[in-house]
Symmetry: C2
Subunit: 389 residues, 2 copies
């Protein structure tokens, strides 16, 4: 049989698993571990995150500019990975830091705490946050839980669980707030993907001919399914990209605001928004919508931070972050002009096959400045890891 | 958090899962489905296999050159995928073909049988072979169960299970025999991988410096673990390759022979061999060992094929197969000369983390024609999908 050298992606794996495991609600824990946590058990992946300067600077500033939140306090780091946030919390003067990590990376976090002289403060606990029992409540919950387009991975669920079980009434969350953004963009990605799709389908048609002539089997009945599989892959999967700000052709809109101190899982399980985004550029093409997020470190109302720190993953000419932005192709694209308005109805729900992946639906509608209104178009997009096709 | 766009491979996923699921013996069925079967639920991957001319020609010849094995007979196709072998069996005159497929590809197999006018003969059953119940015993079991280096994927277990439960006493197996081969080769792959490793480690050392100076955390304690992770990835993982025959510098040796009619799971769960391979080329370098397999279609003793058909995945100047060969780097490589003998003790066991992956161990020892004997070197190699690092 022999699957291809490039193997299978966690998304397809998850899909297949869910195909049997079924439903975002009940996810086989072993499958979840196989498809999700494993990624973080590689130092290689930890390093990728630790090399993200924007990410690192934001958390570093948040901790060290707000020593009053950490000095003498008890801190919980949800998903500590290599332990960096826990170690910073200790360096900032925490009395005790509980660093919870599901993967074997926990052992490395322990070594790192020891090597950096904070082993007496940082206690690494290996286990999933939902199962862990702490000996005391905590003053601060710090966590880097954000996935692509903020909510992919659904890790915030574990942070909410930790907060509800272990945060003191007057405790603070790091980060304290999060926002999801959507913006109209121009991009050549759509053409490229359409080309790739054409090539794939041309290749398929040759394959159908050959299989018929050499092996006497007509494969043509599968052409529709083959196209559907490839359309999903090339056109209907969100595309990771670090966009240049000048690709944003209109006003970005906030589609979701989260107060990490009060948010519930119900609140984030489904995201629905209706936004109207004015086009700011003349004679251009609306090729896609881009999605990104930012988070803020403000402490809490009763216990504010001394200085607000922001971590933004918006398009940035200096290169951006490892999260990049997610590009959602609009097929067909639309010619737009300055003064036009793009009205978008947006829905994001968790994939039935894997609660850590998302199914998006966009209905977009152009209101031209002339008053002319184009018919609404609806397109589905899947926020998942790329299959390594 | 955000795992990388390239995601995680089924091998790492499996490893992590097994880390909890534990043990080759007990494998969580959902995880197995997530990590293994899913690959075959993509038409893209089916096409890759269907485009493998060597593979297709061998099975096509095996079926159509031996009509007496199929005409009026009952056939079981284990893991039918898109259904090609089942359809050929029907075209060759089978009275009934049971085509078992675990993934949703079963639906496509059904369509394909219908479109090719054999829906009355081919009955596609979706389920895992171990669970399926057939209404009758069968005369022929046909299956394309071979993974990299023959046994990777451990799919032959399911064929054995099918044989013991459903094959008539005088039934035949397609293929009927299989062999694993090992050969000494020259290759530049080792240097390339060593370079990659050096680059990765240099990159890591810069990262350690930066993290210390910018963020006050010394990561150096993890250097050893980082190197180990990358040595495993670059040097100790089997490398997929289609070698040119002139890279084979000595006599290939058979390390395992399987009679598909009598083989047991015990027989294939562990493979041990001691072989001595004479070097046939002067002043060259033993850089690696290559592993491949061939299978034969001979029918059975009582009911032989009219014409033996072979499917070989050996190095071939015409390009070979999608299985290619597996390259096992020998670090360090050895200078060798014509007349030298390479003595290799080989062990292959199933990975504790995932019974479909393999852990290999090679002890190699050079006996020079001069009589001089170099000390034996032992190296471990992991036969798994590449992590998409």
């Amino acid at each position: 049989m022999a699957s291809l050298p490039n193997g299978t992606s966690s998304s397809s794996a998850a899909a297949a698993a869910g195909g049997r495991g079924g439903g975002a609600a009940v996810v086989d824990k072993e499958v979840d571990f196989a498809n999700y946590f494993c990624t973080y058990s590689y130092l290689y992946h930890q390093k990728e995150m630790l090399c993200d300067r924007v990410r690192m600077d934001a958390y570093h500033s948040a901790v060290f500019r707000n020593p009053h939140h950490f000095r003498g306090k008890v801190v919980l780091d949800v998903g500590t990975g290599s332990g960096i946030l826990a170690i910073w919390s200790a360096q900032a003067g925490a009395r005790k830091v509980y660093a919870v990590e599901a993967t074997n990376m926990a052992e490395h976090a322990r070594e790192l705490a020891r090597a950096n002289g904070v082993a007496d403060v940082v206690e690494v606990i290996q286990g999933s946050m939902e199962d862990v029992v702490l000996p005391e409540k905590v003053d601060v919950i710090i966590s880097e839980w954000m996935g692509y387009f903020l909510l992919r991975e659904s890790m915030f669920d574990s942070v909410i669980c930790a907060r509800d079980r272990w945060l003191k009434p007057d405790g603070v969350m790091y980060p304290s707030h999060a926002r999801m953004w959507l913006a109209p963009i121009r991009s050549g990605l759509g053409e490229k993907k359409l080309e790739d799709l054409d090539i794939a389908m041309h290749d398929w048609s040759l394959f159908v001919e050959d299989t018929e002539s050499y092996y006497g089997v007509n494969m043509n009945v599968l052409t529709k399914a083959y196209r559907a599989e490839h359309e999903k892959y090339y056109l209907k999967s969100a595309i990771w990209n670090n966009l240049h700000p000048n690709q944003v052709i209109g006003q970005a809109a906030v589609i979701k605001e989260i107060d990490c101190l009060t948010a519930t899982v119900d609140e984030i399980q489904e995201v629905r928004a209706q936004v109207t985004m004015p086009i700011k550029l003349d004679m251009t093409r609306l090729a896609a919508l881009a999605g990104w997020f930012d988070v803020h470190f403000r402490g809490s109302k009763q216990n504010p931070g001394t200085q607000e720190v922001e971590l933004s993953t918006a398009p940035d000419e200096n290169g951006g972050t490892h999260w990049g932005q997610q590009v959602f192709l609009l097929t067909p694209p639309l010619r737009v002009n300055e003064g036009d308005n793009v009205k978008v109805s947006f829905t994001m729900v968790r994939s039935k096959e894997n609660h850590r992946l998302m199914d998006l639906e966009f209905t977009y509608e152009l209101h031209e400045s002339s008053g002319k209104q184009l018919p609404a178009i609806t397109t589905k997009i899947y926020l998942e890891l790329k299959k390594t096709m």
